[in-house]
């Protein structure tokens, strides 16, 4: 009955999309590459090293990494232990790849917990507003006033340190940013007319939250949780480093650093290696988060 408009429908360009992403978002690509490699290394750890990360070898303690042999002519360096060994002779490379499992599991699971808590708090605050918002805001403010490391330390001291406990503590403590972001975004979405349209359809609040709001939250939530994952990994490493995280002899990177600290004068590489691994992992999450954020803004 109406003449249909002839033109629009912009074509989405598919070809050369990957190449474009690489050129335009080098950070995102680099971050995904590093993160991917670390994830793969963690999954296939047993295939990447012949050693068990817990096996001590008193005969070969504090061996330097192989490149110390190449560049500094350190005669102790050997290809048998490419990353050297620690103060009780455990293979550093083996501890590193198995340690990646700990960091990643802590990162993923804690973020799943904190993301869930944060989203529930944030979405209900943003969607319902009013008193619910006041209550959520109070929760967020209270959470922010809690000194994270102190409380985490105290909690570990009280309940004992284990992988599960660390995950739980981090998940229960670090939901604030997810809550703040989901609250803000939900407020913006809730103001828009398609929410009003859904209400005028008689759709229930739960349905509106699940089908109208949640899909629009996915992208910002992914951004914040990726960045948050890096912070959770750092928290675990810090706690382990302070001796109140993952208990020894697990190959947590933080623990490796704590053990290496005793040898700071004799084996400086033992500090450099796990620290660099930690740095790379956290950097990769930051790069991915930042890249996702920039892609979203376009």
């Amino acid at each position: 009955m109406q003449p249909s408009e002839p033109i629009p429908l912009r074509e989405t360009r598919r070809r050369g999309r990957l190449a474009r992403v690489i050129v335009e978002r080098p950070g995102l690509v680099l971050g995904m590459l590093i993160l991917g490699l670390i994830v793969l290394a963690a999954i296939f750890a047993p295939y990447l090293t012949p050693y068990d990360p817990y096996d001590q070898d008193i005969m070969s303690r504090r061996l330097p990494p192989v490149w110390n042999g190449w560049f500094l002519g350190d005669p102790q360096a050997t290809m048998a232990h490419p990353f050297g060994t620690d103060n009780v002779g455990r293979d550093y490379w083996a501890r590193l790849v198995y340690g990646a499992r700990i960091s990643l599991i802590v990162g993923f699971v804690s973020v799943a917990i904190s993301g869930f808590i944060g989203s529930v708090v944030g979405i209900s605050a943003g969607y319902f507003g009013g008193k619910v918002d006041l209550a959520a805001n109070f929760l967020i403010q209270t959470r922010l006033a809690v000194p994270v490391i102190l409380v985490a330390l105290a909690a570990v001291a009280a309940f004992g340190g284990s992988l599960q406990m660390i995950i739980l503590i981090a998940g229960l403590l670090l939901w604030d940013r997810a809550a703040v972001v989901t609250r803000t975004v939900t407020q913006q979405i809730a103001k828009r007319d398609f929410i009003k349209a859904a209400k005028a359809l008689g759709a229930s609040d739960l349905r509106i939250i699940l089908t109208e709001i949640l899909p629009n939250l996915a992208a910002p939530l992914a951004v914040i949780l990726t960045v948050e994952m890096g912070q959770v990994i750092l928290l675990e490493a810090s706690l382990s480093f302070l001796g109140l995280g993952i208990p020894p002899p697990a190959p947590s990177w933080g623990l490796m650093l704590a053990e290496a600290k005793e040898d700071i004068f004799f084996a400086p590489w033992a500090i450099a290696i796990p620290g660099a691994a930690l740095f790379l992992l956290v950097l990769s999450t930051s790069l991915v988060g930042d890249g996702l954020q920039k892609s979203r803004e376009r």
Partner: protein, 336 residues
């Protein structure tokens, strides 16, 4: 006729980086005489706002301006550095923006922001002078209890009052030209009428030239001396308000006029003459008439070459190979 106050020759504005460049303004030229109102009218995205910002030298960072000359009072301003240009802004030419709610700095009083404009261009003036000028102009723009208002912050005023403050601010240094970019779009209709009337009264009193940017044909018809209809970055029709409204030559102008219901003229409940299709994307190299594809009079030839401006008399022009000329002459303006 004296020399025009503002003269713009072949202005181009390009936005963005090389591969995704938008050619937002594609070679427009116009003149405004002292005391005259030129209105540039067009739909969203036609480049009218970019034109106003280009004249002010306030284009966003990503945009570039090219021209064969922009001059005020015979003096070229297109080659000026931003520093030299800032000496003219507020003094020779001033601007009023669309959003009165955000255009004023929330942390300073009205008085502070008004006086600042004056003192910038009159550094030797005493503080009292600036204050006196501010009070005088606030009263001129119809704000009562002006001296008390000076101590108020923007959030304490309504939108209509803030726009009056913006107008007073533009007048602080007695400029010759006011550029008003959709000055009443954010306001209610009754306030719109009052603000437009205020602008017109001030224009007469101070012999101002006004460049009025708007999408509203009603505003144009009621306020402008000269009209330029802009489409896809170009002027498609120019002339005096009477010429353009009573005898539109370009199919686009005619289409716009036929698309809006006019009480007492359009048949109630009847069909409005909609313009099919959408505006072409300005990223591409445009070949032929930019209105081709939406035009009911188009012939295949219209898609070829560049359509030149036909200028039968000074100031009256259209960019069309098949303009409505005979009809216009016959109808003598009565458009149905």
């Amino acid at each position: 006729m004296t020399a025009p106050l503002l003269k713009v020759d072949d202005l181009h504005v390009r936005i963005g980086a090389r591969d995704r460049q938008v050619h937002a303004v594609r070679g427009i030229s116009f003149e405004i005489a002292r005391g005259e109102t030129l209105s540039i009218v067009g739909e969203s995205g036609c480049g009218k706002s970019m034109t106003s910002l280009a004249v002010m030298g306030l284009l966003p960072r990503t945009a570039r301006r090219e021209s064969h000359g922009i001059s005020i009072d015979g003096a070229r301003i297109d080659g000026l550095s931003d520093r030299a240009m800032s000496d003219l802004r507020g003094l020779k030419l001033a601007m009023i923006f669309q959003e009165p709610m955000t255009a004023l700095n929330p942390v300073y009083t009205i008085g502070n922001q008004l006086e600042e404009a004056y003192r910038r261009h009159n550094p030797a003036a005493a503080r009292g002078d600036a204050r006196a000028r501010a009070v005088y102009l606030l009263e001129k723009v119809g704000i009562t209890a002006a001296s008390e208002r000076l101590n108020q912050y923007p959030h304490q005023l309504s939108g209509g009052l803030r726009q009056r403050v913006m107008i007073a601010m533009a007048l602080m240094c007695g400029p010759d030209l006011i550029i008003a970019d959709e000055p009443t779009t954010a306001l209610d209709v009754t306030i719109q009428a009052q603000i437009l009337r205020l602008l017109r009264d001030l224009q007469t009193e101070f012999n101002l030239s006004i460049l009025l940017i708007t999408h509203d044909l009603g505003i144009v018809a009621r306020t402008a001396d000269k009209v330029a209809v802009m489409y896809a970055g170009e002027f498609v029709e120019t002339g005096t308000a009477r010429e353009v409204f009573n005898a539109p030559a370009h199919p686009y102008t005619r289409g716009l006029l036929a698309a809006i219901p006019v009480p007492g003229k359009t048949e109630r409940g009847g069909k409005l003459a909609a313009i099919p299709g959408t505006v072409p994307s300005l990223t591409d190299h445009l070949e032929g008439c930019s209105f081709f594809g939406r035009c009911s009079r188009a012939v295949p030839d219209c898609a070829l070459g560049h359509v030149a401006l036909t200028e039968p008399s000074a100031g009256r022009a259209w960019r069309c190979r098949r303009p409505y000329l005979e009809e216009a002459a016959h109808q003598g303006g009565a458009l149905s």
